[in-house]
C-alpha cells in the first residue's frame, strides 16, 4: 500500500466503473442503485458525508465544553461533598502523588478527544483541498481515529462503575456529575462524526487532479 500510495498509477474502483456495496462488499457496475444481494442502497460517493461530519463534529465539540466545565464526579463522604471536573480531578490526583493515574485520565479524557476533533477536522478539510499529507497516511489516521474513538468512553465507564459500586448510603457515595453526560454525548457524536466520514473521498480529490492531469 505504501508503495501503491506513492505510485501515481493507482486506479480506484470508480475509475474502473465499478461500485461496491458498503454493506456486503459485492461489487456492482457503476450506477447500480441497489445491491441485488443485500438490498442496501449503493452510492459511489456519499456527497453529504462531509456535511454530516461537520454537523456531528460541531455537536461533539459543543458537548465537550460543558463536559469540562461541569463536575464529572460527585464524591460524597461522611464529612464532605467533593465535585471534580475532569481536569480538576487530574490535578487533584497529581497533588496526591498519583501522577500515573493523572496522566491516564488526562490522556483518555483530554488528549484523545481533542486529538480526535483535530484529526476529523483535518481529514474533512484535507479531502476538499490539496493536502501535503499522503493519502495512505490519511487513511491510516482515519483508521486510528475510528479505532481509538471508543476508548474515550473509558472515562464514562469508570464513572459508571464507581457510581454503581460506591453507594454506601451515608458513609460514602459517588454519583456521576453533569459533565459525564456531556462527555458521553461528546464521545458519541465524535464517533458518529468519524463514521460519517466517507474515507473513499481521501482517494478521490487528489486522484482527480492527478487523474485529470494524467488523462488530459
Amino acid at each position: 500500500m505504501e508503495i501503491a500510495g506513492q505510485n501515481p498509477d493507482i486506479i480506484s474502483a470508480r475509475d474502473l466503473g465499478l461500485v461496491a456495496c458498503n454493506r456486503c462488499a459485492k461489487v456492482w457496475p457503476a450506477g447500480t442503485q441497489t445491491c441485488a444481494r443485500c438490498g442496501s442502497r449503493i452510492v459511489a460517493r456519499d456527497t453529504k458525508s462531509l456535511q454530516r461530519v461537520w454537523a456531528l463534529w460541531l455537536v461533539g465539540l459543543m458537548c465537550y465544553v460543558p463536559a469540562n466545565v461541569y463536575p464529572m464526579l460527585r464524591t460524597r463522604t461522611l464529612l464532605s461533598v467533593q465535585e471534580d471536573t475532569i481536569v480538576g480531578g487530574a490535578i487533584e490526583l497529581v497533588h496526591h502523588g498519583a501522577i500515573g493515574i493523572a496522566i491516564i485520565i488526562l490522556v483518555a479524557s483530554v488528549v484523545i478527544p481533542l486529538a480526535k476533533f483535530m484529526a476529523i477536522a483535518f481529514l474533512a478539510i484535507s479531502v476538499t483541498r490539496v493536502s501535503t499529507v499522503s493519502k495512505h497516511q490519511r487513511q491510516r489516521l482515519y483508521e486510528v481515529v475510528e479505532y481509538i474513538g471508543r476508548w474515550s468512553m473509558i472515562d464514562i465507564f469508570v464513572v459508571a462503575i464507581l457510581s454503581s459500586l460506591v453507594q454506601l448510603n451515608t458513609l460514602a457515595a459517588i454519583n456521576p456529575g453533569r459533565a459525564s453526560l456531556f462527555f458521553a454525548l461528546s464521545v458519541i457524536f465524535t464517533m458518529l462524526s468519524a463514521q460519517a466520514f466517507d474515507s473513499r473521498m481521501i482517494w478521490d480529490l487528489q486522484t482527480k487532479p492527478e487523474g485529470s492531469s494524467a488523462n488530459d
Binding site: 456527497t47 456535511q51 454537523a55 456531528l56 460541531l58
Partner: protein, 694 residues
C-alpha cells in the same frame, strides 16, 4: 472515460440546493437551541443576590454553605467578603427565585451551628455537612431589601411558628432562667427567650412564646413559676428527691398553671411575673396587692451592714413593704462624689398604706409624695438586737430640709433620708463579752482544780476506803440479828395468837354477848357522862396548876434537868445491856405464854368466866360512875390544898423560916403527884385494869 462525466452532470442537475444540505445539520442546531434554552432558563431561574452581614464567618464557605428556610435549601452562598473596614463578614447569598419575594425587610438570618445544651444537641447535622444559614421570614411579601444583618443566635419567634407572645419578668428579688422551655404538665408548650436586665437592675424581663396549640391555657390569672433545680425531702417514706425533668434540672425551666378558671384570653405582649415556686405563685393570686407593688428607693450614706433583702419597711411601726434589693451605687453626678452608697429598692404594698379611694401604686405614690413634702423621711433602724438586722423606717421629721422628689416613667423615685438610728447592739454585746473576758476564770479554775485535788486525796485516803467495809460488816451483823431464829419466829407466833383470838371472838359472837356488851357500854357511857360533868371544874384546877407551875418555874430546876439527863443516860446504858437485847426473846416467850393462856382459856370454858368478868366490869363501871360523882368534892378539896400551897409558897417568898415546912409540904404534894402519875401510867399501860378492876 467519456462516459463518466455525464452521470456526474446528471446527478448535479438532479440535486437541488435543499437536497444538497444534509438533514443532519438539524442536530447541531437543535443542540445549540437546547443549550441556549437551558442557559436562558438557568439565568432566568437565578434569584437575586442578597448580602448578609455576620460578626464572623465561622464555617461559611463559598458555593457550599446553603441558606435554608424550614430546613430546605433556598439559596447558596456565592461569595464571602469583608465589609468595608473589615468590621464584619458579608455572605453573598444567591436566593432561589421562588422565595426571593418573601425575603423582605422583616427577614432574619442566623448561622446554625452544632450546639450542645442541657436540652440536647441541636444542629448535629451541621457537624457533618458544615454550617448553614437559616433564614426566617413571614409569608407575606413586603418591601424588598438586599442587605441584612445576621442575628447572633436563633430568634425565639421564628416565622411560621405561631404562638402567643408574652413577656415574663421576675418578681422583686426573684430570679429567672432564660432560654429555657416552658413546660405544662411536663410537656413543652413554649419557650423563654433571652432575658434582659432592666435599667435599674431591679428585675429581669424575657420574651416568651406559648405555641399556638397551647395558647388557650393562658389567662390573666395564670401564674408562672420556676421548676429548675430539685427538692430533696426526708419523710416517713424515706428520702425523696424530686425534679420535673433532667433538662430542667440542668438547664432550668418554667411552668405555669391557671389556678382560677375562666378569664379572657390574653393578648400578645402581656407581662407575667415568674415566681420562685408554686406556693408563692398560688399565693400571689389571692393577694393581688402583693403583686402590684410600688417601687421606691432609698440611698443611704455610710455603713449599712445588716440591711438585707426582705427587711421590713415600716411606716409608724406598721409594715408597709419590704426591701426588694440592696445594691451599691456610685453616681458622681447625683451625689457629688465617688463614694459607694447603698441603694435599697423598696417594694411598698399600696394596700397596706390604708388608702381610701383606690389601691394602686399610682395612688400610693401620690400619697407618699405628699407626705414627703411634709417631711416624711426614711432612716435605718435596728430591727433585731440579736442579729443586728436593720429595717427601714419612714417617719415624720419636723423642719426637715426640703428634698427634691422626682417621678416619671421608668424612674424609681427616691425617698429622702434622715439620720439613722441604729442602737449599737453590737457594741453592747461586745461589752458583755469583754466583761466575761475579764472574769477571773483562770483563778476560779485553779481553785477548782485545787479543790478537786484535795477531794481526790481525801477519797483515796485509806481509812475512808475501809469505811464501806465496816458498813458492810455492820449490815452483816444487823442481818444476823434479823435472820436469827427468834426474830423470825415472832410473826408466826403473832399469827397463831391472832388466829386464836379470832376464834375466841367468834365464839363470843355465837354466845350473843353483844347485847350484854351494849348494856356494859351504856353503863360506861353513863360513867363517862358523869366524868364529863365532874370535869367541868377542871379548867379552874388547870389554871391553879398553871399558877403552881409558874411558881415552880421560878424554882431552880437546872439541877433537876441535869439529874434527868443523867437518868436518861443510865437508861440508855441499861437499854444497851445484854438483858435489853434479850428482850425480843423474852417477848417471844411472853407471847407464847399468852398463847398458852388463851388456849387454856378456850379449853377451860373461859367464856363463862368472861361473862362473869363482864358482869363485874359493869358493876365496877357502875361503881366508878358513882365514885365519879364524888369527884367534884375531891377536886374542891384539892383546890383548897392548892390554895393553901400557893399561900404557903407566897409565905415562903416572904420569909426563909417557913421554907422547911413548905419544902415538906411540897414533897408531900410531889409524892401525891407521883402517886397520881404512877396511877395514870398504870392506867395508860393497862386500860383494861379499869374494866377488869385490877
Amino acid at each position: 472515460m467519456t462516459e463518466t462525466p455525464p452521470p456526474v452532470a446528471i446527478e448535479n442537475v438532479r440535486k437541488s440546493l435543499l437536497a444538497r444540505i444534509s438533514m443532519v445539520w438539524a442536530i447541531p442546531f437543535l443542540a445549540l437551541a437546547i443549550a441556549l434554552f437551558v442557559a436562558w432558563q438557568a439565568y432566568d431561574a437565578r434569584g437575586p443576590l442578597i448580602e448578609i452581614e455576620f460578626a464572623d464567618g465561622a464555617g461559611i464557605a463559598k458555593r457550599e454553605t446553603e441558606l435554608r428556610y424550614r430546613d430546605v435549601s433556598v439559596g447558596v452562598v456565592e461569595n464571602v467578603t469583608f465589609s468595608s473596614g473589615l468590621g464584619s463578614v458579608v455572605a453573598h447569598v444567591r436566593l432561589d427565585k421562588a422565595v426571593a419575594p418573601y425575603v423582605d425587610a422583616g427577614s432574619t438570618f442566623w448561622v446554625v451551628r452544632p450546639e450542645l445544651t442541657a436540652r440536647g444537641i441541636s444542629g448535629l447535622d451541621t457537624v457533618l455537612s458544615g454550617v448553614y444559614i437559616e433564614g426566617s421570614w413571614d409569608s407575606t411579601i413586603g418591601p424588598a431589601r438586599s442587605r441584612f444583618k445576621g442575628a447572633v443566635e436563633a430568634p425565639l419567634f421564628q416565622s411560621g411558628q405561631k404562638g402567643l407572645q408574652l413577656a415574663l419578668r421576675t418578681t422583686p428579688g426573684g430570679t429567672m432562667t432564660d432560654k429555657s422551655p416552658i413546660l405544662f404538665r411536663g410537656i413543652e408548650v413554649g419557650r423563654v427567650g433571652k432575658a434582659r436586665i432592666s435599667q435599674q437592675g431591679s428585675f429581669a424581663i424575657a420574651e416568651a412564646i406559648i405555641y399556638n396549640d397551647y395558647s388557650h391555657l393562658i389567662s390573666p390569672s395564670t401564674r408562672f413559676w420556676e421548676t429548675s433545680g430539685f427538692t430533696f425531702s426526708v419523710g416517713p417514706s424515706g428520702a425523696e428527691i424530686d425534679f420535673s425533668s433532667f433538662a430542667t434540672l440542668v438547664g432550668g425551666g418554667l411552668t405555669f398553671d391557671t389556678f382560677v378558671s375562666g378569664g379572657d384570653p390574653v393578648e400578645d405582649g402581656t407581662v407575667f411575673e415568674v415566681f420562685a415556686d408554686e406556693p408563692s405563685a398560688r399565693n400571689s393570686l389571692f393577694n393581688a396587692s402583693e403583686v402590684e407593688t410600688l417601687e421606691m428607693r432609698v440611698v443611704f450614706d455610710g455603713n449599712i451592714a445588716g440591711l438585707a433583702v426582705d427587711a421590713p419597711v415600716e411606716l409608724s411601726g406598721l409594715k408597709i413593704g419590704k426591701v426588694q434589693s440592696v445594691s451599691g451605687v456610685i453616681d458622681a453626678n447625683a451625689f457629688g462624689d465617688n463614694r459607694v452608697r447603698l441603694n435599697a429598692i423598696l417594694s411598698i404594698q399600696p394596700a397596706r398604706l390604708g388608702l381610701q379611694d383606690e389601691v394602686t401604686p399610682e395612688a400610693a405614690l401620690r400619697f407618699l409624695e405628699a407626705r414627703i413634702q411634709e417631711g416624711l423621711r426614711a432612716r435605718l433602724a435596728s430591727a433585731s438586737l440579736l442579729t443586728g438586722g436593720l429595717k427601714i423606717e419612714l417617719l415624720q421629721v419636723d423642719d426637715a430640709p426640703p428634698a427634691p422628689f422626682v417621678t416619671g416613667e421608668g424612674i424609681v423615685p427616691i425617698i429622702p433620708t434622715t439620720q439613722s438610728e441604729i442602737s449599737d447592739a453590737a457594741a453592747t454585746v461586745e461589752g458583755v463579752f469583754n466583761r466575761i473576758n475579764n472574769l477571773p476564770i483562770e483563778e476560779l479554775l485553779n481553785s477548782a482544780i485545787d479543790f478537786l485535788n484535795s477531794a481526790e486525796a481525801f477519797v483515796s485516803d485509806e481509812d475512808l476506803r475501809e469505811t464501806p467495809q465496816d458498813l458492810r460488816a455492820l449490815l452483816g451483823d444487823v442481818r444476823g440479828i434479823v435472820t436469827s431464829q427468834d426474830v423470825q419466829d415472832i410473826p408466826g407466833t403473832l399469827n397463831a395468837a391472832i388466829g386464836r383470838f379470832e376464834t375466841l371472838l367468834t365464839q363470843l359472837e355465837q354466845d350473843q354477848l353483844t347485847t350484854r356488851l351494849a348494856t356494859a357500854v351504856d353503863a360506861a357511857a353513863d360513867a363517862a357522862r358523869g366524868v364529863t360533868a365532874s370535869v367541868e371544874g377542871v379548867p379552874a384546877l388547870v389554871s391553879e396548876l398553871e399558877a403552881v407551875a409558874a411558881k415552880a418555874k421560878a424554882l431552880p430546876l437546872d439541877q433537876l434537868t441535869t439529874q434527868l439527863t443523867a437518868l436518861t443516860t443510865s437508861a440508855d446504858e441499861i437499854l444497851g445491856t445484854e438483858a435489853a437485847r434479850q428482850l425480843p426473846a423474852d417477848l417471844g416467850a411472853a407471847l407464847n405464854e399468852i398463847n398458852a393462856t388463851l388456849a387454856e382459856l378456850r379449853r377451860g370454858g373461859a367464856v363463862t368466866n368472861i361473862n362473869a368478868t363482864l358482869e363485874s366490869t359493869r358493876q365496877a363501871a357502875d361503881a366508878v360512875a358513882t365514885s365519879t360523882q364524888d369527884l367534884p368534892a375531891l377536886v374542891d378539896r384539892i383546890r383548897r390544898v392548892f390554895d393553901q400551897a400557893s399561900a404557903t409558897i407566897a409565905g415562903y417568898n416572904k420569909g426563909e423560916t417557913l421554907s422547911r415546912d413548905a419544902q415538906a409540904a411540897l414533897r408531900d404534894i410531889s409524892k401525891a403527884a407521883d402517886a397520881m402519875t404512877s396511877l395514870a401510867r398504870m392506867l395508860e399501860r393497862n386500860p383494861d385494869a379499869l374494866i377488869r378492876g385490877r
